[in-house]
């Protein structure tokens, strides 16, 4: 006689087990259709098995995690770039990327975004394409040939009509953007179609050449910083892959699926979504960097690294400017980097080293307070 789901729920409800175990247990139990006695036995055994699998108190999990991530580092490749398929986006991988993650750099060396689009765009390539133009930063050299007319002290911009149409941008928009961003006069040529004449307010040869350079940097359409957008069919929907990352602005674009859009820029995720999201992003990025190299590292180790980076509410670096530089112990800081400064500052502040950590105790020559060193016997 199999138990009904509600009884199972109530029996499993108040067990002190991790969520994923409880869920699997519930699924299995329903699938197997157990009776009460069986379920009681199962619960007993699962509890026992969980008790066995638990970490032991005093375990030095930090060192184990650090080694578990550091050791595969020696086996990783240095090959920075990698093309995932043809015409894809370059991404930093391997050891350099891992270093970038634990360094908590504000800006990764190759920021990219994976933009999911809403239903109506996801199935239609043209619509997705249109959305891509909204996102990709468009510069004048993609739309026109620019020539410097030194004789008349002006720039001549020959717009490609087809490209304009294709990219859904009008001549007026260009004129507006250019006048807005640069302090110049832009007018349509009278005799030639789609030709713009740019004149300086005060003619100067040097300024003209400078202008020629400046005009290329102006973003006419799209989001500044997104250098390229590639559309690829992923499963049965179109996705956008970008070179360059601007999470906040991309999320504001209509048609972008906010819940499934991702960037590899952890700093941006922190700014937009906060510390918990950043913590998950670090875990995700580190796991995929290691996994891509064919190295398996238990997620618990990566979680611990991510948690210590984020536990103060901001993403802190693993190193001198982050966790190691803010340790409580003077000796631990001095033994890591910038030895003398830490000692001098400690003297000046009159710091007291409580000798709780590992390095401090090694330095003064006593047993460390971890693992078997953390167990005390009291003699009666």
């Amino acid at each position: 006689m199999a138990l009904i789901e509600s009884t199972i729920d109530s029996m499993l409800g108040n067990l002190d087990l991790p969520l994923n175990i409880l869920q699997t247990l519930k699924e299995d139990v329903i699938k197997a259709g157990v009776n009460k006695k069986e379920l009681e036995e199962i619960i007993e055994k699962v509890k026992e098995s969980y008790e066995y699998a638990k970490v032991e108190p005093c375990e030095a999990v930090g060192v184990v995690s650090a080694q578990s991530i550091g050791e595969p580092g020696t086996q990783m490749t240095m090959r920075t770039f990698h093309y995932a398929g043809v015409a894809e986006i370059n991404v930093t991988l391997g050891l350099p990327r891992l270093i970038e993650i634990v360094d908590a750099r504000k800006e990764p060396s190759t920021p990219t975004m994976t933009i999911a689009v809403l239903e109506e765009y996801a199935q239609d390539r043209d619509k997705a394409r249109k959305l891509a133009w909204e996102i990709e930063a468009t510069h004048i050299d993609q739309l026109a040939d620019v020539t410097t007319d030194a004789l008349n002290m002006q720039l001549i911009i020959d717009l490609h009509e087809k490209t304009l149409m294709y990219r859904n941008i009008t001549v007026d928009e260009i004129i507006e953007k250019l006048t807005d961003k640069l302090d110049i006069q832009v007018r349509l040529s009278e005799n030639i179609d789609n030709q713009l004449i740019v004149k300086l307010k005060e003619p100067s040869y040097r300024d003209l050449l400078q202008m020629r350079k400046n005009i290329d940097t102006i973003t006419l359409k799209g989001i500044e910083g997104i250098k390229r957008v590639v559309i690829r069919k992923d499963g049965n929907e179109y996705m956008l892959y970008t070179e360059g990352s601007q999470l906040k602005k991309v999320l504001e674009v209509e048609g972008v699926d906010i819940s499934r859009t991702y960037t590899n820029n952890i700093g941006e995720i922190y700014d937009v979504f906060g510390i918990e999201a950043a913590r998950n992003a670090i875990i995700k990025e580190a796991t995929s960097t290691l996994g891509e190299q064919g190295l398996t590292v238990d997620i618990r180790h990566i979680m611990l690294v991510s948690d210590i980076m984020c536990c103060d509410g901001e993403v802190k670096q693993i190193g001198r400017h982050g966790i190691s530089g803010e340790k409580a112990s003077v000796f631990a800081r001095a033994a890591f980097e910038v030895t003398v400064n830490h000692l001098l500052d400690a003297g000046m502040r009159g710091d007291v080293d409580e000798l709780n950590g590992v390095t401090e105790n090694i330095i003064v020559g006593q047993p460390i307070k971890l693992g078997t060193g953390d167990v005390h016997l009291i003699a009666k």
Binding site: A32, S324, M348, R349, G357
Partner: protein, 880 residues
């Protein structure tokens, strides 16, 4: 014997602070006034830098302060009275900031009282939480600097400029250290607190030195050269300079020398004191030795990898260690290590004499220190250590009794630590049981190579002999090899079969082979198998025979169940599981191997599924026994068939060679077509790529495909009977790619993932035309290693190979630093009894370790497989 050794005292905390002039004088044993060190007889001069009150370094002399001899005397500080105060370089930054934030007239901190109170509150709050107060203190300085008129005395504040290295200029007038000191002296204790200092242990004026402590001679020992000449330490040299200038300064001032000269001397004194503390201050020319070498002064002693902190305090030298080359011995257990007798004779273990071992230890003493299980030293109850020699061994054996300690030589069964650098993870140091063996190398079972990352091409390893009972207990419970079969990194076995273990097992279990009784017994000889199973059949003569699977089943623990695809699995679209026609699906039922082939997936290090199951289900001891058994079985198995590999194994028939040539020629033509299209500007660029990038990618693709095709042709010629293929497919060593490179075609050589482009202008080598984009001009190697490379190919191959070498060199340094940073950041984390992970301050990093509190070594690759198993076991119904 009656006194139990007392529990060693623990240092509970260490207080830092600045040293006040008063304190310097108090702890000083003498004022140093003469710059000379020794008199003509070589005796230290009184009140000189080598004064006997500062401690002794020469044997035979006694310290005048504590009366101990060299080696016992810890040394005592002296002091130099500086004629005029000088700035301590290390505190320049703080001095500057402090000067700018206090009133030039009344020395009050330039902040309103409520502001001060607020800052003090902030600082104490941060300190209470164990954080550094730096950000708040910087804020104090920033705020105070903004005030232009003193709110207390109304004095107008002037801009103070700092000039490197130690000059402070206020409104064009140079501030002397005396003036600075005067200002600092007047800062009230309350204001000092706002500046983040603790007035009890660090007053700001102590940053300006008036008395210089002279480190004891033990800190700066002089060395006597062979010529009998004395060579002084760098610090002594520097102190001599300071004393000289100090004296000259004194004389000049007393003589009423002009202000200019006084200032010059003052500056000079400042320079010498500065370089005494730090000889690498920017803007200060480093003080040099006579030979031109920069002096190594205080800062340099502390700093860097070989400095005091990282080199001497965090890393220490040890006794009772040995190092030699390692070599393999498959007959040892994984828990053992073979120790050469020459080492065993030298290494000792102290053993306390008690009633029960007196006779035994007496025997060791009688054997002396030259015959192996002997003893080298005895320690009397009064602590005297006596070396056992041929002459005194009988006498000592007679005398030895309860309370003595005998340092006996290393013997079989002793627990030692074994280590190979770089020690990247905890499995780089494991405890082994000693097995004393002849010859001069450490021997270890090749199955423990993966955790140490050792091979036998000349690797050396270290052994440490444990000296106390506690350490031996701890090591054998926590660090023994069998306890480390599972790696916490991924929760799977890191110790397991490699190379011949895998090919041996593969050969043994692959086919329905016939193994006679004699052979079977030979194979299982070492595994302590007492009975053979039912034979699988009888041959024509009625002799029984067994197959390899049966033999392997003998070493499996009873009740083991497993099902998984083997490494040789072809990854067909639908797996036929048990009915796999390639014999690539392993089925083990109740400790009996039914189907499949044993290869890397089953027993290999990192992958071995059977190994993983055995350890997790039957415990580490059974795991260790299983590893021991299968390594021995595999070695005997591979010896039975024999496995050799030579250059003739790469031979492929002429027709295949022709086919390969055709494929490569075709690819080359395709490349030519591509180039033609490119030159005619007919090539369509790929989206988001330039034309140049497109052609490169297309060429790379074409050539890559061609290499794979050539490889396949060659691969088809080399069947599963080829030993290289056996090794590659079973996962023992090498890959099919290696093999095709040897037999068919080496393929494209790349630098940074691109074809080779560097070299001369417009071309890679003078053998090619400028602008040639062809395959061979950019590093495509058509030949195979077997057929040999053409000169240009050889050159390109060398380029590609060099990149690999550079890569490795860069990677090791980078990943080493990453490792150091990670360990330093995480080392203090510990799981508490309540399951949380906290660091030293008690800050919670994780509420439950890994979100579920499970140890990665005890989980099934982080999947809840155990739940399935339990439900199945209880209900008898399959759920997964």
């Amino acid at each position: 014997m009656d006194t139990i050794p007392s529990i060693p005292k623990r240092i509970s905390a260490i207080q830092f602070g600045l040293i006040s002039p008063r304190e310097v004088r108090k702890m000083s044993v003498t004022n140093i006034i003469t710059a000379d060190t020794y008199d003509d007889d070589g005796y230290p001069i009184d009140m000189g830098l080598m004064d006997l009150r500062l401690g002794v370094i020469d044997p035979g002399l006694k310290c005048k302060t504590c009366g101990s001899r060299a080696g016992e005397c810890p040394g005592h500080f002296g002091h130099i009275e500086l004629v005029a105060p000088v700035v301590h370089v290390g505190f320049n930054k703080t001095i500057r900031k402090t000067l700018r934030s206090i009133c030039r007239n009344c020395s009050a901190l330039l902040l309103e009282p409520p502001q001060k109170k607020d800052f003090v509150a902030q600082i104490s709050k941060l300190q209470e939480m164990g954080h550094l107060p730096d950000p708040v203190i910087n804020e104090v300085f920033k705020e105070a600097r903004k005030t232009k008129v003193c709110p207390y005395c109304g004095a107008e504040q002037l801009e103070i400029k700092f000039e490197k290295p130690t000059e402070y200029i206020e409104d064009g007038h140079k501030l002397t250290p005396t003036e600075i000191r005067d200002r600092f002296e007047n800062i009230s204790d309350d204001d000092v607190k706002v500046l983040g200092m603790d007035p009890a242990s660090a007053r700001p004026e102590w940053m300006i030195l008036t008395v210089l402590p002279v480190p004891p001679v033990t800190v700066r020992p002089s060395i006597t050269l062979e010529s009998g000449q004395r060579s002084e330490d760098d610090l002594t040299h520097k102190l001599v300079d300071i004393i000289r200038i100090n004296q000259r300064f004194q004389e000049n001032r007393d003589a009423g020398a002009p202000q200019l000269i006084i200032e010059d001397l003052w500056e000079l004194l400042q320079y010498h004191v500065t370089t005494f503390f730090d000889n690498e201050v920017s803007g200060v020319p480093p003080a040099r030795h006579r030979s031109g070498r920069p002096l190594k002064t205080l800062t340099q002693r502390l700093k860097g990898k070989e400095g005091r902190f990282r080199g001497s305090l965090s890393g220490k030298r040890v006794n009772f260690s040995a190092r030699t080359v390692v070599s393999p011995d498959p007959n040892l257990s994984i828990n053992e290590v073979g120790v050469p007798e020459a080492i065993a004779i030298q290494m000792t273990i102290p053993e306390r004499v008690i009633d029960r071992n007196t006779e035994l230890l007496r025997m060791y003493i009688l054997r002396g220190s030259d015959v192996h299980p002997g003893a080298n030293y005895v320690i009397r109850p009064d602590g005297r250590r006596i070396k056992i020699t041929e002459n005194n061994k009988e006498e000592l054996a007679e005398k030895v009794e309860k309370g003595w300690v005998v340092e006996r030589q290393l013997m079989d069964g002793d627990t030692v630590l074994f280590n190979r650098q770089p020690s990247l993870h905890k499995m780089s140091i494991m405890a082994h049981q000693v097995k004393v063996l002849p010859n001069k190398t450490f021997r270890l079972n090749p199955a423990v190579c993966p955790p140490y990352n050792a091979d036998f091409d000349g690797d050396e390893m270290n052994m440490h002999v444990l000296q106390t009972e506690e350490s031996r207990a701890e090591a054998s419970i926590l660090m023994q090899v069998q306890e480390n079969i599972l790696s916490p990194r991924f929760g799977g076995p890191i110790i397991g079969g490699i190379h011949d273990h895998i090919s041996g097992m593969f050969l043994l279990t692959r086919n329905e082979n016939r193994i006679t009784k004699n052979e079977a017994l030979e194979l299982l000889r070492k595994a302590e198998i007492r009975e053979l199973p039912e034979p699988s059949g009888y041959d024509d003569n009625g002799e029984p025979y067994w197959n390899g699977k049966q033999i392997f089943s003998q070493i499996l623990p009873e009740g083991l169940n497993a099902e998984f695809p083997a490494e040789v699995c072809f990854k067909c679209e639908t797996c036929k599981k048990e009915d796999c026609e390639y014999n690539a699906y392993v089925v083990i039922r109740n400790g009996e191997m039914v189907k499949g082939t044993i290869d890397e997936k089953a027993i290999g290090a990192f992958k071995g599924i059977i190994l993983d199951k055995v350890v997790k289900k039957y415990g580490t001891e059974a795991g260790a026994k299983f590893v021991d058994d299968f390594t021995r079985l595999a070695i005997r198995g591979v010896m039975k068939t024999g496995l050799s590999f030579g250059i003739s194994d790469e031979d492929i028939p002429e027709t295949a060679k022709k086919n390969i040539k055709e494929v490569l020629d075709k690819a080359e033509n395709e490349v030519k077509d591509l180039i033609a299209a490119y030159e005619a500007k007919e090539l369509e660029p790929l989206p988001g790529r330039t034309l140049d990038e497109t052609i490169e990618m297309k060429i790379m693709q074409t050539l890559g495909k061609a290499r794979d095709q050539a490889g396949n042709i060659a691969g088809n010629q080399l069947g599963l009977e080829n030993s290289a293929v056996i090794m590659a497919k079973s996962g023992a060593r090498g890959s099919m790619l290696n093999l095709t490179q040897m037999a068919a075609c080496v393929g494209q050589q790349a630098v940074r993932g691109e074809r080779i482009r560097r070299g001369y202008a417009g071309r890679t080598l003078p053998h090619f035309d400028k602008g040639d984009l062809g395959a061979d001009a950019h590093g495509f190697v058509k030949s195979s290693y077997k057929s040999g490379l053409s000169p240009t190919e050889y050159f390109f191959h060398a380029i590609g190979g060099r990149e690999g070498l550079v890569d490795t060199a860069v990677r090791t340094s980078q990943s080493g630093y990453l490792q150091r940073r990670l360990v330093n950041a995480l080392q203090d984390l510990e799981v508490q009894y309540d399951g949380t992970v906290r660091e030293t301050r008690g800050v919670i990093v994780q509420f439950k370790y890994g979100e579920d509190g499970i140890d990665s070594t005890k989980s099934d690759y982080s999947k809840p497989d155990n739940v399935h198993k339990i439900v199945e076991a209880v209900t008898g119904r399959k759920v997964n």
